[in-house]
């Protein structure tokens, strides 16, 4: 059974065009780009080609792109560079909605003695701009705010935030792992200083990411060693994956406008029909400012893991913010920060689409899902409450 893969915010398939571009570098072209011989040295030019493609997608200059091993490395590097660049400043601002790559790194720095402000989000997952403004002071070394949330798809007002921080001359990093390739980003117009992206979220393979560092921004490398990436990120280049990331960015740019329309139509159909067919559901997050591919829906009186495993029987892949799926006993910190009731968090399901999803797959989910919810509610001692209404 071919899976119906609706978990693209977790990871994506490698695009066939991307794999084709990569294969020669895993077979015959295995040289080291730092070598003096042509066999290795010629690869340097290929890496620069990929760098230019990543830069083009973002509206950046190629020399502003540093290749890394993943989104987490990009995030950690950016924040660490920020605090090392301003050693006299001991304050970091971030949000309660961040991915663990930023959230837990900020908590780690808090244990090391930094003052960290975790900005609250409202019931729709939005930032309170007044609280944000008040959090800034002359001690703030860096602000790190995600571009779009992985769980709800809510997009933060990065243009507004970056303008404010430019005026205040405060370093700004954004974790754009979920946004790059899904919505247009133009760093020529957007004054962010650093931006993280991850290959496997946009149909490149896992194990490659990039960090954008605006020209003129102070930068301290996080991984120390050889001279690769102009001394900004040591370690022999993951050439095949870097080539793959370049191709993936090229594809994303070519298809972006079309995909936004295509995916939001599919997503809206899925969301709208599920709301109509299942009673006691709610959408989590601001539907006005959301990634086109993401919907997060809570099904009251049922538990997320149970829903996922029933969907799994039909080959449908999604994810949940419920405690049972997280490996801990605590449900999603993002949904909790939004004040979503626990009853609804436990039954939250995230569908995240990609360009490879087709309408027939969405129709299948629409057909199966109400049945699963009905069956699980019949199993649930709280199911009666839904019937009573």
């Amino acid at each position: 059974m071919k899976p119906i893969y609706l978990d693209n915010n977790a990871t994506t398939s490698v695009a066939p065009e991307v794999l084709d571009e990569m294969l020669p570098y895993l077979r015959e072209l295995y040289g080291n780009p730092s070598s003096m011989h042509t066999f290795g040295g010629q690869l340097h030019r290929k890496i620069e080609g990929a760098r230019a493609k990543v830069a083009t997608l973002l509206g950046a200059e190629p020399e502003e792109i540093i290749f890394t091993s993943c989104g987490t490395e990009s995030d950690n590097t950016a924040i660490m560079s920020g605090v090392e660049s301003y050693p006299q400043k001991r304050h970091i601002v971030t949000t309660r909605a961040e991915h663990p790559a930023v959230f837990n790194f900020a908590k780690h720095l808090a244990r090391k003695g930094y003052r960290v402000t975790f900005l609250p989000i409202d019931s729709k997952g939005r930032l309170d701009m007044d609280v944000f403004l008040k959090s800034l002071d002359e001690n703030t070394a860096i602000v790190s705010i995600m571009y779009a949330n992985n769980e709800t798809g809510v997009i933060f007002p990065i243009p507004e935030i970056s303008e404010i921080l430019r005026e205040r001359k405060i370093l700004f990093h954004t974790d754009a792992v979920q946004a790059v390739g899904k919505i247009p980003i133009d760093l020529k117009k957007l004054p962010v200083d650093m931006l993280s992206l991850s290959g496997h979220k946009l149909h490149a393979p896992k194990g490659v990411g990039a960090l954008y560092v605006r020209k003129g921004t102070r930068f301290y490398p996080y991984i120390i060693g050889g001279h690769q990436e102009r001394g900004r990120r040591a370690g022999t280049e993951n050439i095949a994956s870097i080539i793959g990331l370049g191709k993936a960015c090229e594809l994303a740019r070519a298809n972006l406008e079309e995909e936004v329309v295509y995916l939001s139509a599919l997503r809206d159909k899925l969301e709208k029909t599920l709301i109509e067919c299942c009673p006691d559901v709610r959408i989590n997050g601001d539907t006005e400012n959301r990634l086109p591919n993401t919907t997060n829906i809570s099904f009251e009186y049922v538990e997320g893991e149970a829903i996922l495993l029933r969907l799994n029987e039909y080959g449908i892949c999604a994810s949940s913010g419920s405690a049972c799926t997280s490996g801990s006993l605590e449900p999603s910190h993002v949904l909790r920060s939004m004040g979503v009731p626990f009853t609804a968090i436990h039954g939250s399901i995230r569908f995240s689409l990609s360009r490879y999803n087709i309408e027939a797959e969405i129709n299948k989910v629409i057909e199966i899902m109400p049945k699963i919810i009905k069956e699980l509610r019949e199993l649930s001692p709280f199911g009666r409450e839904s019937k009573r209404k």
Binding site: A306, E313, L329, L379, S380
Partner: protein
């Protein structure tokens, strides 16, 4: 993704005894929607024989919670109340072919619902709120429950307690309390029949004890196999012995000497060295 057994998957996808018995003789409810799992168990009981004729469940929770509930109803049907009360959470887990360790609390929930239902049938009062000492405020787990589950399942670490009861799995502020409870439970050493060894022995006491151990603990075993041993001398921690009778030519002589040394280390002093004189 959890590694569930086929039995768990089967009972999750095709649960048995789902629903609610009309006019049940006993009702047991545990957990809450806030905590992420809840179970409502209803029983039909034959009043003459005190046997459970029928059992049905409704569960809000993950796959293993649903499978555990289904397993519970299968296990207790046809049992007398007293026998049903003997069903432990381990039995529920075994019935399922095992549960991931992080999911053991699902089996505990099953057992608790059964106890609650039988207490309800017998008219026993539930502990009044406030009377129980709540240790984990995130998941409302009482000290009594932590003690009971820890003892029944031989839990020795906080992580295990969290896997079985959820206590400590939220904010984590109760972890020191759970550690204290575990220390209190397990610091009581099992009573053994070994001779009591005073902390600091004089040379005379030590030699007497060595003689005593060799006479009572070692020689009878060797003699049973036709061998024997004689104590020659004691110099500090060095115990010099001579092997006698069958032991003299026994190819396992070295093993015998090692065994004697281990016994003396166990019962007299840990630093004893045994040599053949």
């Amino acid at each position: 993704m959890w590694e569930y057994t086929d039995k768990v998957k089967d009972l999750f996808l095709n649960p048995k005894n789902v629903g609610e018995i009309d006019n049940p003789d006993a009702v047991g409810e545990v957990g809450s929607i806030i905590c992420g799992d809840a179970l409502r168990l209803t029983l039909k009981i034959d009043k003459q024989t005190n046997k459970i004729i029928d059992a049905k469940f409704q569960t809000f929770g993950c796959a293993s919670a649903i499978a555990s509930s289904s397993a519970l109803t299968e296990l207790v049907k046809g049992k007398t109340l007293d026998d049903a009360l003997k069903v432990s959470n381990q039995e529920i887990a075994e019935f399922l072919g095992g549960l991931p360790s992080e999911k053991m609390h699902c089996s505990v929930m099953g057992q608790e619902a059964l106890e609650a239902a039988i207490a309800n049938y017998r008219g026993e009062k539930k502990p009044v709120e406030g009377e129980e000492k709540i240790i984990c405020k995130c998941f409302e787990v009482s000290e009594d429950k932590i003690r009971k589950v820890a003892i029944e399942n031989h839990l020795t670490t906080v992580e295990e307690v969290t896997n079985y009861t959820k206590a400590g799995g939220g904010c984590g502020s109760c972890i020191p309390d759970i550690e204290a409870i575990l220390k209190d439970i397990w610091s009581v050493k099992p009573v053994t029949e070994r001779p009591l060894v005073p902390k600091k022995l004089t040379n005379l006491q030590k030699i007497a004890l060595i003689q005593d151990v060799i006479e009572k603990e070692i020689r009878p075993h060797l003699q049973a196999d036709g061998g024997d041993v004689e104590l020659i001398d004691v110099e500090g921690n060095k115990v010099i012995i001579a092997l006698r009778a069958m032991c003299v030519e026994c190819p396992m002589g070295n093993v015998t000497v090692k065994g004697i040394e281990e016994k003396l280390r166990e019962l007299v002093s840990e630093d004893i060295m045994v040599e053949v004189g």
